[in-house]
């Protein structure tokens, strides 16, 4: 009931702040580009080129194209936009005169934090749904290849957002400022987790580590395992879309990321529970 009210409230706020309209604009722009790029001639050309070179078929080309859509750069752009969109939700709730009203209602502080967290995640889920479903329809209609696993990206991208949103929520409560929330949350996502991801990839290679001392390696790996593995989850998403076997470390990546998210939310709840307003 309360969560439902918060979801409605967040959607209302997103509508009022023209967030939904902006997202529609961005999605329409991408779709227009896709429609312009994937012409019938381009599809025919791609098919003949694939047959002549590697004997591949249209489905492989479509899967490759779809996996590029969910690659690291689009993920970075999309998540940064989402962080900017949702960053104001907590600081605006904490404004003097408004938080007093919220806290005077028969809702626990736990419900307020989780309600806002779920509401923000649901909003982004619908945005992802809209974005990926339309992209999928456009590609599929143009190529006649209806590759359903691409739609799983909606859930994977929402999950990645949910991880980052737990940081946004905590930072929102601590800083009460959306600019500071954006800066800290985005810096955590990029470059911190991004660097840790690539450094870990480097250590996993068979070649001998000549750059870092063993202490530095331990230090980096410690933070790699401590922090969420959003880029590894994106690898899992690509594997799912490509229908390939999941990466070896998928369980560790998912479980440690879920744990990190829970820790962030617990910290946010603890901080909010102790705070006088």
């Amino acid at each position: 009931m309360v969560i439902n009210t918060f979801i409605k409230g967040i959607f209302r706020e997103a509508l009022a702040r023209k967030i939904i309209l902006t997202i529609f604009g961005i999605i329409s722009f991408f779709i227009l580009i896709l429609i312009l790029l994937i012409t019938n001639e381009a599809v025919r050309f791609l098919l003949s080129a694939l047959e002549q070179t590697s004997g591949g078929n249209m489905k492989d080309a479509v899967i490759l194209f779809q996996s590029e859509i969910i690659s690291k750069t689009p993920l970075l752009m999309l998540m940064c936009s989402y962080i900017v969109i949702v960053s104001a939700f907590i600081p605006s709730m904490l404004k003097k005169g408004y938080i007093d009203l919220i806290l005077s209602k028969p809702i626990s502080r736990f419900q307020i934090v989780t309600g806002h967290y779920i509401a923000g995640t649901v909003l982004i889920f619908f945005m992802n749904l809209l974005l990926f479903v339309i992209i999928w329809i456009v590609i599929s209609a143009k190529t006649s290849v209806w590759h359903f696993p691409f739609l799983y990206s909606v859930f994977w991208f929402t999950s990645i957002f949910a991880v980052l949103y737990s940081i946004v929520v905590l930072m929102g409560f601590v800083t009460k400022n959306n600019i500071l929330t954006i800066i800290t949350s985005i810096s955590f996502f990029f470059p911190v987790t991004w660097l840790l991801y690539w450094l870990n990839k480097y250590f996993e290679q068979d070649t001998q580590n000549i750059v870092f001392s063993s202490f530095a390696e331990f230090f980096i790996k410690f933070f790699y395992y401590l922090f969420p593995k959003v880029w590894d989850i994106q690898d899992i998403c690509i594997s799912v879309v490509k229908a390939e076997p999941l990466p070896d470390n998928y369980f560790v990546s998912i479980s440690s990321t879920v744990l990190f998210t829970l820790v962030m939310l617990t910290l946010a709840i603890y901080y909010f529970n102790k705070k006088d307003y």
């Binding site: 009210t5 605006s92 404004k95 007093d100 009203l101 006088d276 307003y277």
Partner: protein
């Protein structure tokens, strides 16, 4: 059992980032408020009035002591289902209109929409905002916001309403309307906890008052008792001549308001009767005797001054 029980409540805030400094907002405040009353909490700015309400509503936490509402600890958020609150300088999302504000806060109060949808129009009409219910509240004036805030605070038909400066920014007619709403709530058996520095407002509607200053409770009681001055009596008499007036001034230290209204000081009933006997002996007719009451404002200022003086003497 009192509806609101406050027992030795102390609240300290910490301020400063590097050098933490303790600020005492409430000190050993104890208070009981019965159901069906309009209770007024008075105090100068920074007295701790808002802090006390915030502690009662679980918005801030006490450092020491405890408080109960409906016999339950104020930490229990479920009790707030029967509580309404209008904070000072309340703020709503500017993109909502008046109707949507009541809808949103009604739902947050744990009610189902069908249970309060009719009440939205009823309350907007009560506070005189029915014509502006579709207007974005970003365009509302201060007075309109106060009216909306009052409607919001009673959307859930609460047993207790906490109002922090409800008439702030409201014109005199609006104030009268708000007072009428408060009296109507009282008649319906509701309890109203009113925080205000507008003493005349408090005097007009409250049954009981308490005065806070610098976190200390300095006076609490029934408004009629608290404003009564025990040794001053106003005599309404037949016209008195100038010679007799001079005698009264000389012998009884009387204050002459007019030729037929004289104020006497009488510290006990014997002294009062002596004055009556004296007037009657001089063939002065007594039409009435009233115990003089100080205004709440005078009493308030005197108490604050006394406390300031005690504080200075103590130091």
């Amino acid at each position: 059992m009192a509806l609101i029980e406050i027992n030795k409540l102390t609240k300290e805030y910490s301020s400063g980032i590097f050098k933490r400094r303790k600020v005492l907002a409430l000190s050993d405040v104890s208070l009981n408020i019965e159901a069906g009353n309009i209770f007024g909490l008075l105090g100068p700015n920074g007295a701790g009035k808002t802090t006390l309400v915030k502690v009662l509503l679980g918005i801030a936490f006490p450092t020491k002591g405890a408080a109960k509402i409906f016999g339950k600890n104020v930490k229990n958020h479920r009790i707030k289902k029967q509580i309404g609150y209008l904070p000072e300088n309340h703020r709503y999302p500017g993109y909502l209109n008046g109707e949507e504000v009541l809808n949103y806060f009604g739902l947050l109060s744990g009610m189902k929409y069908k249970d309060f949808k009719d009440r939205i129009d009823e309350l907007l009409s009560l506070v005189g905002l029915e014509k502006w219910k579709k207007m974005k509240i970003g365009k509302y004036s201060k007075g309109m916001m106060q009216r909306l805030g009052l409607a919001q605070s009673i959307i859930n038909n609460p047993e207790i309403v906490f109002l922090d400066e409800p008439t702030d920014g409201v014109d005199p007619i609006g104030r009268k309307e708000i007072r009428d709403i408060l009296l109507d709530l009282k008649n319906k058996g509701k309890t109203v906890f009113l925080n205000s520095h507008l003493l005349s407002e408090i005097e007009l509607v409250c049954d009981r008052v308490a005065i806070l200053n610098k976190g200390f409770m300095i006076k609490e009681g029934n408004i009629n008792d608290i404003t009564a001055v025990s040794d001053r009596y106003s005599f309404l008499t037949s016209d008195i001549g100038d010679d007799f007036i001079n005698k009264l001034l000389l012998n009884y230290n009387a204050v002459i308001r007019s030729k037929n209204n004289i104020i006497f000081e009488a510290e006990n009933i014997e002294k009062l009767n002596l004055i009556i006997d004296y007037l009657r002996k001089e063939n002065i007719f007594i039409h009435g005797i009233n115990r003089e009451k100080d205004t709440l404002e005078n009493m308030f200022i005197n108490l604050i001054e006394q406390q300031k003086q005690q504080h200075l003497n103590g130091n």
